[in-house]
Protein backbone atom coordinates (compact mmCIF):
# COMPACT_ATOMS: atom_id res chain seq x y z
CA UNK A 1 0.00 0.00 0.00
CA UNK A 2 1.34 3.39 -0.89
CA UNK A 3 0.28 6.82 0.23
CA UNK A 4 -0.57 9.81 -1.85
CA UNK A 5 -1.00 13.42 -0.86
CA UNK A 6 -4.73 13.66 -1.58
CA UNK A 7 -5.48 10.62 0.47
CA UNK A 8 -3.29 11.83 3.33
CA UNK A 9 -5.00 15.20 3.30
CA UNK A 10 -8.40 13.55 3.31
CA UNK A 11 -7.54 11.33 6.22
CA UNK A 12 -6.13 14.19 8.22
CA UNK A 13 -9.24 16.26 7.66
CA UNK A 14 -11.59 13.38 8.32
CA UNK A 15 -11.57 13.95 12.07
CA UNK A 16 -12.60 17.55 11.65
CA UNK A 17 -15.68 16.74 9.60
CA UNK A 18 -19.01 17.50 11.28
CA UNK A 19 -20.49 14.11 11.97
CA UNK A 20 -24.21 13.44 11.72
CA UNK A 21 -24.23 13.00 15.47
CA UNK A 22 -22.90 16.51 15.96
CA UNK A 23 -25.36 18.02 13.53
CA UNK A 24 -28.20 16.23 15.27
CA UNK A 25 -26.90 17.43 18.63
CA UNK A 26 -27.02 21.06 17.64
CA UNK A 27 -30.34 20.81 15.84
CA UNK A 28 -31.77 19.38 19.03
CA UNK A 29 -30.06 22.03 21.14
CA UNK A 30 -31.71 24.81 19.16
CA UNK A 31 -34.99 22.93 19.02
CA UNK A 32 -35.20 23.13 22.81
CA UNK A 33 -36.11 26.79 22.38
CA UNK A 34 -39.49 25.64 21.08
CA UNK A 35 -39.68 22.26 22.79
CA UNK A 36 -39.40 23.35 26.42
CA UNK A 37 -40.75 26.88 26.72
CA UNK A 38 -41.35 26.53 30.47
CA UNK A 39 -37.77 25.52 31.27
CA UNK A 40 -35.83 28.52 30.03
CA UNK A 41 -34.13 29.25 33.33
CA UNK A 42 -32.62 25.81 33.82
CA UNK A 43 -31.81 25.57 30.13
CA UNK A 44 -30.00 28.88 30.30
CA UNK A 45 -28.01 27.76 33.35
CA UNK A 46 -27.15 24.56 31.52
CA UNK A 47 -25.89 26.47 28.48
CA UNK A 48 -23.68 28.65 30.68
CA UNK A 49 -22.37 25.65 32.58
CA UNK A 50 -21.69 23.89 29.29
CA UNK A 51 -19.61 26.79 28.06
CA UNK A 52 -17.75 26.92 31.36
CA UNK A 53 -17.05 23.18 31.19
CA UNK A 54 -15.94 23.53 27.58
CA UNK A 55 -13.34 26.02 28.73
CA UNK A 56 -12.02 23.55 31.28
CA UNK A 57 -11.97 20.75 28.72
CA UNK A 58 -9.61 22.79 26.56
CA UNK A 59 -6.93 22.76 29.25
CA UNK A 60 -7.73 19.50 31.03
CA UNK A 61 -8.77 17.31 28.14
CA UNK A 62 -6.42 18.72 25.54
CA UNK A 63 -3.43 19.98 27.51
CA UNK A 64 -3.60 17.83 30.65
CA UNK A 65 -3.58 20.69 33.16
CA UNK A 66 -5.55 19.96 36.33
CA UNK A 67 -7.15 23.16 37.53
CA UNK A 68 -9.25 23.87 40.57
CA UNK A 69 -9.32 27.56 39.80
CA UNK A 70 -11.30 27.98 36.62
CA UNK A 71 -13.77 29.95 38.73
CA UNK A 72 -11.21 32.77 38.89
CA UNK A 73 -11.87 33.71 35.28
CA UNK A 74 -15.57 33.03 35.51
CA UNK A 75 -15.92 35.31 38.50
CA UNK A 76 -13.52 37.98 37.33
CA UNK A 77 -15.34 38.45 34.04
CA UNK A 78 -18.67 38.13 35.80
CA UNK A 79 -17.90 41.11 38.01
CA UNK A 80 -16.42 42.98 35.07
CA UNK A 81 -19.58 42.51 33.03
CA UNK A 82 -21.70 43.56 36.00
CA UNK A 83 -19.66 46.67 36.72
CA UNK A 84 -19.47 47.95 33.15
CA UNK A 85 -23.23 47.58 32.88
CA UNK A 86 -23.96 49.12 36.25
CA UNK A 87 -21.87 52.20 35.63
CA UNK A 88 -22.88 52.45 32.00
CA UNK A 89 -19.33 52.11 30.68
CA UNK A 90 -20.28 49.58 28.04
CA UNK A 91 -24.00 49.39 27.51
CA UNK A 92 -24.35 47.00 24.63
CA UNK A 93 -24.28 43.42 26.05
CA UNK A 94 -22.51 41.77 23.12
CA UNK A 95 -19.65 44.25 23.19
CA UNK A 96 -19.50 43.94 26.98
CA UNK A 97 -19.43 40.16 26.63
CA UNK A 98 -16.52 40.24 24.22
CA UNK A 99 -14.66 42.67 26.48
CA UNK A 100 -15.29 40.43 29.48
CA UNK A 101 -13.87 37.51 27.60
CA UNK A 102 -10.83 39.50 26.61
CA UNK A 103 -10.16 40.73 30.11
CA UNK A 104 -10.50 37.20 31.50
CA UNK A 105 -8.12 36.01 28.79
CA UNK A 106 -5.67 38.71 29.85
CA UNK A 107 -5.89 37.46 33.43
CA UNK A 108 -5.41 33.93 32.14
CA UNK A 109 -2.35 34.98 30.19
CA UNK A 110 -0.76 36.60 33.24
CA UNK A 111 -1.54 33.74 35.61
CA UNK A 112 -0.55 31.06 33.10
CA UNK A 113 3.07 31.74 33.92
CA UNK A 114 2.36 30.85 37.54
CA UNK A 115 0.39 27.75 36.67
CA UNK A 116 2.63 26.17 34.10
CA UNK A 117 5.39 25.37 36.54
CA UNK A 118 5.70 22.50 38.93
CA UNK A 119 3.77 19.33 39.53
CA UNK A 120 0.06 18.56 39.43
CA UNK A 121 -0.27 19.43 43.08
CA UNK A 122 1.48 22.77 42.70
CA UNK A 123 -0.79 23.60 39.78
CA UNK A 124 -3.80 22.62 41.80
CA UNK A 125 -2.72 24.89 44.62
CA UNK A 126 -1.83 27.83 42.44
CA UNK A 127 -5.04 27.73 40.41
CA UNK A 128 -7.08 27.39 43.56
CA UNK A 129 -5.04 30.11 45.25
CA UNK A 130 -5.63 32.57 42.44
CA UNK A 131 -9.39 32.17 42.56
CA UNK A 132 -9.47 32.39 46.36
CA UNK A 133 -7.35 35.55 46.22
CA UNK A 134 -9.76 37.15 43.80
CA UNK A 135 -12.60 36.15 46.09
CA UNK A 136 -10.87 37.83 49.03
CA UNK A 137 -10.23 40.93 46.96
CA UNK A 138 -13.85 41.14 45.88
CA UNK A 139 -14.82 40.84 49.53
CA UNK A 140 -12.31 43.49 50.56
CA UNK A 141 -13.47 46.07 48.03
CA UNK A 142 -17.09 45.64 48.91
CA UNK A 143 -17.72 49.31 48.12
CA UNK A 144 -17.24 48.38 44.47
CA UNK A 145 -18.41 44.77 44.38
CA UNK A 146 -21.15 44.86 46.99
CA UNK A 147 -19.25 42.33 49.09
CA UNK A 148 -21.28 39.55 50.63
CA UNK A 149 -24.56 41.07 49.43
CA UNK A 150 -23.49 40.71 45.82
CA UNK A 151 -23.40 43.25 43.06
CA UNK A 152 -26.79 44.87 42.85
CA UNK A 153 -28.45 47.43 40.68
CA UNK A 154 -27.11 46.03 37.43
CA UNK A 155 -29.20 47.12 34.45
CA UNK A 156 -28.61 45.21 31.25
CA UNK A 157 -29.56 46.95 28.00
CA UNK A 158 -31.25 45.00 25.20
CA UNK A 159 -28.92 42.81 23.13
CA UNK A 160 -27.92 44.59 19.92
CA UNK A 161 -30.29 47.32 21.04
CA UNK A 162 -33.32 45.17 20.19
CA UNK A 163 -33.74 42.03 22.29
CA UNK A 164 -34.53 42.85 25.88
CA UNK A 165 -33.97 40.19 28.55
CA UNK A 166 -37.54 39.22 29.35
CA UNK A 167 -38.97 37.78 32.53
CA UNK A 168 -39.52 34.34 31.06
CA UNK A 169 -35.87 34.05 30.09
CA UNK A 170 -36.63 33.35 26.44
CA UNK A 171 -34.26 35.93 25.00
CA UNK A 172 -31.71 35.19 27.68
CA UNK A 173 -31.66 31.51 26.75
CA UNK A 174 -31.45 32.16 23.02
CA UNK A 175 -28.63 34.61 23.65
CA UNK A 176 -26.69 32.09 25.78
CA UNK A 177 -27.25 29.30 23.30
CA UNK A 178 -26.00 31.35 20.37
CA UNK A 179 -22.94 32.44 22.32
CA UNK A 180 -22.30 28.84 23.35
CA UNK A 181 -22.55 27.71 19.75
CA UNK A 182 -20.16 30.38 18.49
CA UNK A 183 -17.64 29.63 21.23
CA UNK A 184 -17.98 25.92 20.53
CA UNK A 185 -17.27 26.40 16.84
CA UNK A 186 -14.19 28.44 17.68
CA UNK A 187 -12.97 25.82 20.17
CA UNK A 188 -13.64 23.09 17.65
CA UNK A 189 -11.71 24.92 14.99
CA UNK A 190 -8.77 25.30 17.39
CA UNK A 191 -8.80 21.64 18.34
CA UNK A 192 -8.70 20.39 14.76
CA UNK A 193 -6.00 22.82 13.71
CA UNK A 194 -2.26 22.13 13.71
CA UNK A 195 -2.18 24.04 17.00
CA UNK A 196 -4.72 21.64 18.46
CA UNK A 197 -2.70 18.69 17.20
CA UNK A 198 0.36 20.03 18.98
CA UNK A 199 -1.67 20.29 22.20
CA UNK A 200 -2.66 16.66 21.93
CA UNK A 201 0.97 15.79 21.43
CA UNK A 202 1.97 17.73 24.55
CA UNK A 203 -0.64 15.95 26.58
CA UNK A 204 0.35 12.59 25.14
CA UNK A 205 4.09 12.95 25.60
CA UNK A 206 5.55 16.27 26.68
CA UNK A 207 9.12 15.05 26.46
CA UNK A 208 8.80 14.02 22.85
CA UNK A 209 6.80 17.07 21.90
CA UNK A 210 9.70 19.22 23.03
CA UNK A 211 12.15 16.93 21.26
CA UNK A 212 10.47 17.45 17.89
CA UNK A 213 10.48 21.19 18.26
CA UNK A 214 7.09 22.05 19.77
CA UNK A 215 7.50 25.12 21.99
CA UNK A 216 5.62 23.44 24.82
CA UNK A 217 5.46 26.37 27.18
CA UNK A 218 4.05 28.85 24.70
CA UNK A 219 1.44 26.44 23.41
CA UNK A 220 0.24 25.88 26.99
CA UNK A 221 0.23 29.60 27.69
CA UNK A 222 -1.85 30.12 24.56
CA UNK A 223 -4.47 27.50 25.34
CA UNK A 224 -4.67 28.56 28.96
CA UNK A 225 -5.37 32.09 27.79
CA UNK A 226 -8.07 30.95 25.38
CA UNK A 227 -9.61 28.76 28.05
CA UNK A 228 -9.67 31.66 30.51
CA UNK A 229 -11.37 33.78 27.87
CA UNK A 230 -14.15 31.22 27.34
CA UNK A 231 -14.60 30.81 31.10
CA UNK A 232 -14.85 34.59 31.30
CA UNK A 233 -17.54 34.71 28.64
CA UNK A 234 -19.48 32.11 30.61
CA UNK A 235 -19.19 34.22 33.76
CA UNK A 236 -20.26 37.36 31.94
CA UNK A 237 -23.26 35.54 30.50
CA UNK A 238 -24.37 34.59 34.00
CA UNK A 239 -24.12 38.18 35.20
CA UNK A 240 -25.87 39.59 32.15
CA UNK A 241 -28.77 37.16 32.24
CA UNK A 242 -29.33 37.42 35.98
CA UNK A 243 -28.37 41.10 36.37
CA UNK A 244 -26.55 40.03 39.51
CA UNK A 245 -23.17 38.77 40.61
CA UNK A 246 -22.11 37.44 44.00
CA UNK A 247 -18.95 36.26 45.76
CA UNK A 248 -19.71 32.60 45.29
CA UNK A 249 -18.62 32.88 41.65
CA UNK A 250 -15.09 32.46 43.01
CA UNK A 251 -15.82 29.54 45.30
CA UNK A 252 -14.00 26.25 45.36
CA UNK A 253 -17.29 24.41 44.98
CA UNK A 254 -17.84 26.05 41.64
CA UNK A 255 -14.50 24.83 40.32
CA UNK A 256 -14.96 21.39 41.85
CA UNK A 257 -18.48 21.03 40.43
CA UNK A 258 -17.07 21.99 37.08
CA UNK A 259 -14.58 19.14 37.24
CA UNK A 260 -17.46 16.82 38.00
CA UNK A 261 -19.45 18.11 35.03
CA UNK A 262 -16.55 17.44 32.73
CA UNK A 263 -15.84 14.04 34.21
CA UNK A 264 -19.45 12.94 33.81
CA UNK A 265 -19.38 13.90 30.15
CA UNK A 266 -15.81 12.74 29.50
CA UNK A 267 -12.79 14.82 28.59
CA UNK A 268 -11.01 15.42 25.36
CA UNK A 269 -13.77 15.28 22.75
CA UNK A 270 -15.38 18.71 23.20
CA UNK A 271 -18.89 17.40 23.76
CA UNK A 272 -17.98 16.11 27.23
CA UNK A 273 -18.59 19.49 28.82
CA UNK A 274 -21.90 19.97 27.01
CA UNK A 275 -23.27 16.52 27.70
CA UNK A 276 -21.91 16.62 31.24
CA UNK A 277 -23.65 19.94 31.86
CA UNK A 278 -26.98 18.55 30.71
CA UNK A 279 -26.66 15.44 32.88
CA UNK A 280 -25.39 17.43 35.85
CA UNK A 281 -28.21 19.96 35.73
CA UNK A 282 -30.72 17.20 35.34
CA UNK A 283 -29.22 15.31 38.29
CA UNK A 284 -29.08 18.43 40.39
CA UNK A 285 -32.68 19.27 39.63
CA UNK A 286 -33.83 15.76 40.40
CA UNK A 287 -31.69 15.22 43.51
CA UNK A 288 -32.47 18.54 45.06
CA UNK A 289 -36.16 17.78 44.66
CA UNK A 290 -35.54 14.45 46.31
CA UNK A 291 -33.37 15.68 49.19
CA UNK A 292 -33.44 19.46 49.02
CA UNK A 293 -30.54 20.17 51.36
CA UNK A 294 -28.26 17.24 50.85
CA UNK A 295 -27.98 16.81 47.12
CA UNK A 296 -24.27 17.50 47.45
CA UNK A 297 -23.95 14.10 49.08
CA UNK A 298 -25.17 12.41 45.93
CA UNK A 299 -22.90 14.52 43.75
CA UNK A 300 -19.98 13.37 45.91
CA UNK A 301 -21.12 9.79 45.63
CA UNK A 302 -21.26 10.08 41.85
CA UNK A 303 -17.66 11.32 41.83
CA UNK A 304 -16.43 8.52 44.07
CA UNK A 305 -18.24 5.87 42.07
CA UNK A 306 -16.99 7.24 38.76
CA UNK A 307 -13.41 7.02 39.96
CA UNK A 308 -13.84 3.57 41.48
CA UNK A 309 -15.40 2.18 38.33
CA UNK A 310 -12.63 3.84 36.38
CA UNK A 311 -12.91 6.72 34.00
CA UNK A 312 -11.16 4.72 31.29
CA UNK A 313 -13.80 2.07 31.43
CA UNK A 314 -16.51 4.70 31.20
CA UNK A 315 -14.69 6.42 28.37
CA UNK A 316 -14.50 3.08 26.61
CA UNK A 317 -18.24 2.77 26.93
CA UNK A 318 -18.71 6.25 25.53
CA UNK A 319 -16.41 5.39 22.64
CA UNK A 320 -18.47 2.33 21.77
CA UNK A 321 -21.68 4.34 21.73
CA UNK A 322 -20.03 7.04 19.69
CA UNK A 323 -18.65 4.68 17.08
CA UNK A 324 -22.08 3.06 16.82
CA UNK A 325 -23.64 6.47 16.24
CA UNK A 326 -21.02 7.36 13.66
CA UNK A 327 -21.53 4.08 11.86
CA UNK A 328 -25.28 4.59 11.96
CA UNK A 329 -24.77 8.10 10.63
CA UNK A 330 -22.58 7.08 7.72
CA UNK A 331 -25.08 4.37 6.89
CA UNK A 332 -27.91 6.90 6.88
CA UNK A 333 -26.05 9.58 4.98
CA UNK A 334 -23.96 7.76 2.39
CA UNK A 335 -20.99 9.77 1.17
CA UNK A 336 -21.48 13.46 1.54
CA UNK A 337 -18.04 14.77 0.56
CA UNK A 338 -19.28 18.34 0.67
CA UNK A 339 -19.52 18.07 4.46
CA UNK A 340 -15.78 17.64 4.76
CA UNK A 341 -15.10 21.16 3.48
CA UNK A 342 -13.49 22.23 0.23
CA UNK A 343 -10.74 20.37 -1.59
CA UNK A 344 -7.24 20.88 -0.18
CA UNK A 345 -6.30 24.44 -0.94
CA UNK A 346 -3.59 24.98 -3.50
CA UNK A 347 -0.88 26.40 -1.31
Amino acid sequence: MTANADEVARYLKRRARWSPFEIAFWIFAFATIWLFPGKYLILKDTAILALFALSLDLILGYAGIISLGQAAFFGFAGYFAGLVAKYGIINEPVIALVCSGLIAAALGFVTSFLVLRGSDLTRLMVTLGVSLMLGELANRYSNITGGADGLQGVEIEPVLGRFRFDLFGHNGYVYCLIVLFICFVIARRIIYSPFGLSLRSIKGNTLRAAAIGVPVKWRLVAIYTVSAGLAGIAGALLTQTTAFCSLDVFSLERSADLLLVLIIGGTGYLYGGLIGAVIYKFLQDWLSNLTPQYWQFWIGLVLVVIVLIGRERMAGWVRIVRSLLVRLGTWLMPRLPALGGAAPDGR
Binding site: M1, T2, A3, N4, A5, V8, A9, R10, Y11, L12, K13, R15, A16, R189, I190, Y192, S193, P194, F195, G196, L197, S198, R200, S201, G204, N205, L207, R208, A209, A210, A211, I212, G213, V214, P215, V216, W218, R219, A222, G341, P344, D345, G346, R347
Partner: protein
Protein backbone atom coordinates in the same frame (compact mmCIF):
# COMPACT_ATOMS: atom_id res chain seq x y z
CA UNK B 1 44.18 7.92 16.25
CA UNK B 2 45.57 11.18 14.97
CA UNK B 3 46.32 10.08 11.39
CA UNK B 4 42.64 9.49 10.62
CA UNK B 5 41.59 12.92 11.88
CA UNK B 6 39.87 14.61 8.90
CA UNK B 7 40.47 18.19 7.97
CA UNK B 8 36.91 19.44 7.54
CA UNK B 9 35.31 21.37 10.41
CA UNK B 10 33.02 19.19 12.51
CA UNK B 11 29.27 19.77 12.22
CA UNK B 12 28.78 18.93 15.89
CA UNK B 13 31.46 19.39 18.48
CA UNK B 14 31.74 19.33 22.24
CA UNK B 15 34.55 21.02 24.08
CA UNK B 16 35.39 19.94 27.62
CA UNK B 17 31.82 18.86 28.28
CA UNK B 18 31.10 17.92 31.89
CA UNK B 19 27.99 16.90 33.81
CA UNK B 20 27.88 16.34 37.53
CA UNK B 21 24.94 14.84 39.43
CA UNK B 22 25.61 15.57 43.05
CA UNK B 23 28.91 13.82 43.67
CA UNK B 24 28.83 11.72 40.51
CA UNK B 25 30.58 12.76 37.33
CA UNK B 26 28.35 11.39 34.58
CA UNK B 27 30.41 13.03 31.85
CA UNK B 28 33.86 14.51 32.11
CA UNK B 29 35.94 16.44 29.61
CA UNK B 30 34.13 14.97 26.63
CA UNK B 31 35.63 16.31 23.38
CA UNK B 32 33.55 14.78 20.66
CA UNK B 33 33.79 15.86 17.02
CA UNK B 34 31.28 14.64 14.44
CA UNK B 35 32.12 15.31 10.79
CA UNK B 36 29.45 16.45 8.29
CA UNK B 37 27.73 13.50 6.67
CA UNK B 38 29.44 11.07 9.02
CA UNK B 39 28.14 7.70 10.18
CA UNK B 40 29.52 8.02 13.66
CA UNK B 41 28.89 5.62 16.54
CA UNK B 42 29.21 6.29 20.24
CA UNK B 43 29.62 3.08 22.20
CA UNK B 44 30.47 2.12 25.72
CA UNK B 45 29.51 -0.29 28.47
CA UNK B 46 26.36 0.16 30.55
CA UNK B 47 26.46 3.26 32.71
CA UNK B 48 29.26 4.81 30.68
CA UNK B 49 27.28 8.01 30.28
CA UNK B 50 26.06 7.62 26.68
CA UNK B 51 22.54 8.75 27.46
CA UNK B 52 23.88 11.64 29.53
CA UNK B 53 25.87 12.82 26.52
CA UNK B 54 22.77 12.62 24.30
CA UNK B 55 20.75 14.56 26.83
CA UNK B 56 23.46 17.19 26.95
CA UNK B 57 23.62 17.45 23.16
CA UNK B 58 19.86 17.87 22.82
CA UNK B 59 19.47 20.25 25.73
CA UNK B 60 17.46 18.05 28.07
CA UNK B 61 20.30 18.48 30.58
CA UNK B 62 22.50 21.50 31.16
CA UNK B 63 26.23 20.78 31.35
CA UNK B 64 28.07 21.85 34.49
CA UNK B 65 31.04 22.85 32.33
CA UNK B 66 32.06 22.93 28.68
CA UNK B 67 30.52 23.94 25.39
CA UNK B 68 28.52 22.43 22.57
CA UNK B 69 28.86 23.80 19.05
CA UNK B 70 26.76 23.16 15.98
CA UNK B 71 28.69 24.22 12.88
CA UNK B 72 30.86 26.46 15.02
CA UNK B 73 27.87 28.12 16.69
CA UNK B 74 27.64 27.88 20.47
CA UNK B 75 24.33 26.20 21.34
CA UNK B 76 25.11 25.32 24.96
CA UNK B 77 22.42 27.52 26.44
CA UNK B 78 19.64 26.86 23.91
CA UNK B 79 16.41 25.07 24.83
CA UNK B 80 15.58 21.67 23.30
CA UNK B 81 13.09 23.01 20.76
CA UNK B 82 15.50 25.73 19.68
CA UNK B 83 18.16 23.12 18.98
CA UNK B 84 15.66 21.17 16.93
CA UNK B 85 15.09 24.26 14.79
CA UNK B 86 18.84 24.53 14.27
CA UNK B 87 19.07 20.94 13.13
CA UNK B 88 19.65 18.46 15.95
CA UNK B 89 17.03 15.75 16.36
CA UNK B 90 17.09 12.59 18.37
CA UNK B 91 15.33 9.29 18.88
CA UNK B 92 14.87 7.70 22.26
CA UNK B 93 16.13 4.42 23.61
CA UNK B 94 12.65 3.72 24.98
CA UNK B 95 9.96 4.75 22.51
CA UNK B 96 8.59 8.21 23.13
CA UNK B 97 5.59 8.29 20.84
CA UNK B 98 2.20 9.93 20.79
CA UNK B 99 0.16 6.84 21.53
CA UNK B 100 -3.23 8.41 20.83
CA UNK B 101 -2.24 9.86 17.49
CA UNK B 102 -1.86 7.96 14.23
CA UNK B 103 1.53 7.88 12.49
CA UNK B 104 0.02 10.24 9.95
CA UNK B 105 -0.91 12.77 12.60
CA UNK B 106 2.37 12.37 14.45
CA UNK B 107 4.45 12.99 11.36
CA UNK B 108 2.11 15.76 10.24
CA UNK B 109 2.65 17.44 13.58
CA UNK B 110 6.41 17.41 13.20
CA UNK B 111 6.31 18.65 9.62
CA UNK B 112 3.95 21.51 10.33
CA UNK B 113 5.98 22.55 13.36
CA UNK B 114 9.06 22.65 11.19
CA UNK B 115 7.39 24.60 8.40
CA UNK B 116 6.32 27.18 10.95
CA UNK B 117 2.61 26.49 10.80
CA UNK B 118 2.41 24.57 14.07
CA UNK B 119 0.70 27.44 15.84
CA UNK B 120 -1.99 27.92 13.17
CA UNK B 121 -5.26 27.70 15.00
CA UNK B 122 -7.65 28.91 12.35
CA UNK B 123 -6.77 26.32 9.71
CA UNK B 124 -7.71 22.66 9.78
CA UNK B 125 -5.08 19.95 9.82
CA UNK B 126 -4.35 18.61 6.35
CA UNK B 127 -5.12 21.73 4.33
CA UNK B 128 -1.57 22.68 3.48
CA UNK B 129 -0.15 20.76 0.54
CA UNK B 130 3.48 21.48 1.43
CA UNK B 131 2.84 19.58 4.65
CA UNK B 132 0.90 16.69 3.15
CA UNK B 133 3.45 16.17 0.36
CA UNK B 134 6.21 15.83 2.87
CA UNK B 135 4.18 13.50 5.06
CA UNK B 136 3.77 11.19 2.10
CA UNK B 137 7.50 11.14 1.46
CA UNK B 138 8.34 10.30 5.08
CA UNK B 139 5.62 7.69 5.41
CA UNK B 140 7.01 5.94 2.33
CA UNK B 141 10.63 6.20 3.40
CA UNK B 142 9.91 4.63 6.76
CA UNK B 143 7.56 1.97 5.40
CA UNK B 144 4.64 3.14 7.47
CA UNK B 145 2.07 3.53 4.69
CA UNK B 146 0.17 0.37 5.54
CA UNK B 147 -0.32 1.38 9.19
CA UNK B 148 -0.56 5.15 8.85
CA UNK B 149 -4.20 5.31 9.96
CA UNK B 150 -3.82 3.09 13.00
CA UNK B 151 -3.45 4.42 16.51
CA UNK B 152 0.22 4.36 17.40
CA UNK B 153 -0.49 2.42 20.59
CA UNK B 154 -1.56 -0.69 18.67
CA UNK B 155 1.27 -0.79 16.11
CA UNK B 156 3.73 -3.72 16.15
CA UNK B 157 6.91 -2.88 18.01
CA UNK B 158 9.06 -2.78 14.86
CA UNK B 159 6.72 -0.22 13.29
CA UNK B 160 6.77 1.85 16.46
CA UNK B 161 10.55 1.81 16.31
CA UNK B 162 10.41 3.01 12.70
CA UNK B 163 8.01 5.77 13.66
CA UNK B 164 10.38 6.74 16.45
CA UNK B 165 13.06 7.43 13.85
CA UNK B 166 10.58 8.92 11.38
CA UNK B 167 9.56 11.60 13.89
CA UNK B 168 13.16 12.64 14.40
CA UNK B 169 13.82 12.51 10.67
CA UNK B 170 10.78 14.67 9.94
CA UNK B 171 12.52 17.48 11.79
CA UNK B 172 14.93 17.51 8.80
CA UNK B 173 17.92 17.48 11.08
CA UNK B 174 21.44 18.00 9.94
CA UNK B 175 22.51 15.80 12.80
CA UNK B 176 20.37 12.81 13.72
CA UNK B 177 21.05 11.15 17.07
CA UNK B 178 19.87 7.55 17.16
CA UNK B 179 19.73 6.14 20.67
CA UNK B 180 19.85 2.33 20.40
CA UNK B 181 17.43 2.21 17.47
CA UNK B 182 17.38 -1.59 17.24
CA UNK B 183 16.91 -2.26 20.95
CA UNK B 184 14.24 -4.86 21.58
CA UNK B 185 13.14 -5.25 17.97
CA UNK B 186 12.25 -8.88 17.24
CA UNK B 187 14.39 -10.66 14.65
CA UNK B 188 11.60 -10.75 12.06
CA UNK B 189 11.18 -6.99 12.01
CA UNK B 190 14.85 -6.19 12.41
CA UNK B 191 15.85 -6.32 8.78
CA UNK B 192 13.30 -3.69 7.75
CA UNK B 193 14.58 -1.36 10.46
CA UNK B 194 18.26 -1.76 9.60
CA UNK B 195 17.59 -1.31 5.88
CA UNK B 196 15.77 1.94 6.65
CA UNK B 197 18.67 3.20 8.74
CA UNK B 198 21.11 2.26 5.98
CA UNK B 199 19.03 4.18 3.48
CA UNK B 200 19.05 7.46 5.38
CA UNK B 201 20.21 10.20 3.00
CA UNK B 202 23.91 10.92 3.05
CA UNK B 203 23.53 14.63 3.78
CA UNK B 204 22.13 13.77 7.19
CA UNK B 205 24.90 13.25 9.72
CA UNK B 206 24.14 10.30 11.99
CA UNK B 207 25.43 9.79 15.50
CA UNK B 208 24.49 6.30 16.58
CA UNK B 209 24.48 5.29 20.22
CA UNK B 210 24.37 1.56 20.30
CA UNK B 211 25.01 -1.54 22.30
CA UNK B 212 24.73 -3.98 19.44
CA UNK B 213 28.26 -4.41 18.08
CA UNK B 214 27.14 -6.06 14.81
CA UNK B 215 25.08 -3.02 13.97
CA UNK B 216 27.85 -0.62 14.99
CA UNK B 217 30.55 -2.29 12.93
CA UNK B 218 28.36 -2.76 9.87
CA UNK B 219 27.14 0.84 9.91
CA UNK B 220 29.70 3.19 11.45
CA UNK B 221 32.64 4.78 9.69
CA UNK B 222 33.97 6.16 12.92
CA UNK B 223 33.58 5.02 16.50
CA UNK B 224 34.04 6.78 19.81
CA UNK B 225 34.17 4.74 23.00
CA UNK B 226 32.89 6.24 26.21
CA UNK B 227 33.91 4.78 29.56
CA UNK B 228 33.02 6.20 32.97
CA UNK B 229 31.82 9.43 31.42
CA UNK B 230 35.04 10.12 29.49
CA UNK B 231 36.03 9.56 25.87
CA UNK B 232 38.32 6.61 25.89
CA UNK B 233 39.14 5.76 22.29
CA UNK B 234 38.17 7.52 19.08
CA UNK B 235 38.89 6.17 15.59
CA UNK B 236 37.93 4.09 12.56
CA UNK B 237 36.13 0.78 13.25
CA UNK B 238 39.09 -1.47 12.56
CA UNK B 239 41.32 0.59 14.83
CA UNK B 240 38.80 0.45 17.62
CA UNK B 241 38.26 -3.26 17.13
CA UNK B 242 41.98 -3.88 17.46
CA UNK B 243 42.46 -1.65 20.46
CA UNK B 244 43.36 -3.82 23.46
CA UNK B 245 41.94 -1.30 25.94
CA UNK B 246 38.49 -1.48 24.32
CA UNK B 247 38.63 -5.25 24.45
CA UNK B 248 39.56 -5.06 28.10
CA UNK B 249 36.62 -2.81 28.89
CA UNK B 250 34.10 -4.96 27.07
CA UNK B 251 35.53 -8.24 28.27
CA UNK B 252 35.58 -6.86 31.79
CA UNK B 253 31.92 -6.02 31.47
CA UNK B 254 31.04 -9.43 30.15
CA UNK B 255 32.94 -11.11 32.95
CA UNK B 256 31.22 -9.12 35.64
CA UNK B 257 27.79 -9.51 34.05
Amino acid sequence: MSETMPKTTPILQTIGLEKRFGGILAAQNVNLAVEPGARHALIGPNGAGKTTVINLLTGVLRPTAGRIELEGRDITSLLPHQRVRLGIARTFQINQLFLDLTPLESIGLVVSERLGSGADWWRLVGTKSAVTDEIVEIVERFRLADVMHERTAILPYGKQRLLEIALAFACRPRVLLLDEPAAGVPEAERHELLATIEALPKDVTVLLIEHDMDLVFSFAERISVLVNGALFVDGAPDEVARDPRVKAVYLGEELSA
